[in-house]
Symmetry: C2
Subunit: 446 residues, 2 copies
Amino acid sequence: MSQKQQQLDEFFDFLRFPSISTDSAHKDDVDRCADYLIEKFGSMGLEASKYATPGHPIVIAKSAPKADRPTVLIYGHYDVQPIDPIEGWATPPFEPTLIDDKIFCRGATDNKGQHFSHILGVEETLKQHGELPVNVIFLLEGEEEIGSPNLAPFLEQNRDLLAADICAVSDTGMLAPGVPTMTYGLRGISCLEFTLHGPKGDLHSGVYGGAVANPALMVSRLVAKLHDETGRVLIPHFYDDVIPLADWEREMWASLPDGDASTMAETGVSALWGEQGYTALEQRWARPTAEVNGIGGGYQGEGSKTVIPRSAMAKLSFRLVPDQDPAAIARHAKEFLESQCPEGCRIDVEIGHDGPAYVMDPHSQHGKAAQAALEKTFGSAPRLIREGGSIPIIQAIHDILGIDSLLLGLALPDCQIHAPNENFYLENFYGGIRLNQALLEELGSA
Amino acid sequence: MSQKQQQLDEFFDFLRFPSISTDSAHKDDVDRCADYLIEKFGSMGLEASKYATPGHPIVIAKSAPKADRPTVLIYGHYDVQPIDPIEGWATPPFEPTLIDDKIFCRGATDNKGQHFSHILGVEETLKQHGELPVNVIFLLEGEEEIGSPNLAPFLEQNRDLLAADICAVSDTGMLAPGVPTMTYGLRGISCLEFTLHGPKGDLHSGVYGGAVANPALMVSRLVAKLHDETGRVLIPHFYDDVIPLADWEREMWASLPDGDASTMAETGVSALWGEQGYTALEQRWARPTAEVNGIGGGYQGEGSKTVIPRSAMAKLSFRLVPDQDPAAIARHAKEFLESQCPEGCRIDVEIGHDGPAYVMDPHSQHGKAAQAALEKTFGSAPRLIREGGSIPIIQAIHDILGIDSLLLGLALPDCQIHAPNENFYLENFYGGIRLNQALLEELGSA
């Protein structure tokens, strides 16, 4: 059997564990999946341990440490999303199926394929050279799809065990097949909810309409004050700490396939809307936002009910960029909303969860090493991007372990993560193995 | 037994029918209540008939017509609201109980007490004089509390039977005990609902936020464009046909107990809000409004879900005053909303039910007769008011039978209609009898 076939067979075995972390019926499957990793690491000569948590276990595997080498932490998660809607699947969700150049299976991309290729990369380097150019620590959790509730506490309690110089993560996107992509920034978030309280009860809009502030109207008027006509956020001090885009970033993103067009295609909108003077990619990756995630008040059922509702509410979230402080933004927003509360209403503002934006310098020594590895693996200069969402794990690794993360994406735009027919591009499976080898080599000599 | 006691006993018998029109379990009770009326009218010498409808019957009773006299149609409804929450009642809901100066029973005010006193007034006049100063037609329906679905068709089919010069209705409010009150105007209504459609599905607000129009934000911005800062409606042509308040109306309403204070007390708001330059009573009774009865979009549950919703909606209703045309207002509003639809969204506007405002001249011959009757009954000049809600029945009587209605309210502010402990002021029961006698006399000599 060829080495490539053997690697694929092992990957398929790994994929067959229905390690759905959110479903207690699969608790044993998640656990057996962790055991499979322990066994695999053991066969490679790594010292592997399964750490119990209040939820699913965390697997740690370490190469024999050598004092003269930097240490690389490789993060991944072996748990997967549920499979519903089951009727959407063209192949059995947990029976890996190779069709043309794609492996179809739940978890194929997110995240089993992406971290298993790193494992196989380490294995191959060890087979070839008997040692690694760096010290490696694998950190593989089983709760990413349920929000990693036990990861940060584990990091807190195991700082020494996990001490490393840099973290490498393949759990982000790749712009297109064969286009190496490194994500060096993520937006942060700050959430809040506010409720406007008006009359003591719902009022008949015929009897009282015209003389009383209507909370459903007032909540709209308040939300409408969040932006000016051009989409700029009007909360005082909102932009105070925003670091402007660097010229190289704007040039890099302008060289990517047309982000305005792809944003419209992906979302199905007929026109874009947002802060003027920025492309869609700039707006999504490097500019802060004020979004309404939910709004509600009064009668929302069939037909009409002519009430003035006693209250109405809106849920807001702010996507943040370096160097905005989430707590300060929430405070500014709260003050702004309270200052705009209309007469005749009372406002309650409840501040929710938050997390800062993340950015690392892709032109640092580690960043350059990652770029070189990507170029060696895929044959062209990597595209340097940010992403608009948050990855709390990356923030936790930064805050608790004090290290940056190299986000080397192997997930293609059509990989269907979290959806039926999730798939992993076969080329990226083997590419991931080569990427790991190149990355460790570059980091070892950096 | 005194005549007064006998009248009260009869009223109590009438109240004991649990004629809840919305509950099919009470269908027979509604029917028996109609039979009771037929019998009562028969005993008075009126020709009474029960007309079947697809729902509950309509009772018609006519005095022997005399060619030289005007005809007065007296409208009422013998059906009542349900009694829940039953635990809120201090007395059995269908056992009339006299406590101090109030009769507690479901239907005591709304509307059995108010129209039964008219019946007893006619009876008393007949006993005293053997004839009436006018021809009387009673029109008593059993479906008012479920929206009178069969009344307008019945009017359409029985124009000749119901031909009259004026209608009298006691189903509105009286400002305070002993304060005669005549309502001469009601606002109309025009309803619509609109939905803004944005992306093809809910979007991750991290991934796409900042570049895509958010329907929950946009629906707010659109709603916020309905009024200027001072509460004036900004829909073009909205005020074109509004008849300004007459000086006598503003003076009359300024002479009433402070409407600003009572509006705040009744609604529990700490400040009023509305079109500038008008008192709360003027705003509520004689100025048109644009109200949001419901608004909704995105995530409204516990906590946060960071989506950009695919759509968001608002339900609007416009309260209308003479001479606004409901269909024209709906059309203007639709055009305005469509013209303001943001780029990147699609708007659907669905026009709902409507009805024009109603106003009659309280200084007309009929109006003056009603005023004289009120003054004779209660001993002071009647207050002339409008009400903010709509009474579709009054509009139907106007449109189909071609006559105005004299709205002579006997319902006191604390009568608890539609709520537990509904009550009718004993003085208004007897006052209603005298009012009917005076009204028919005034109308007969008008």
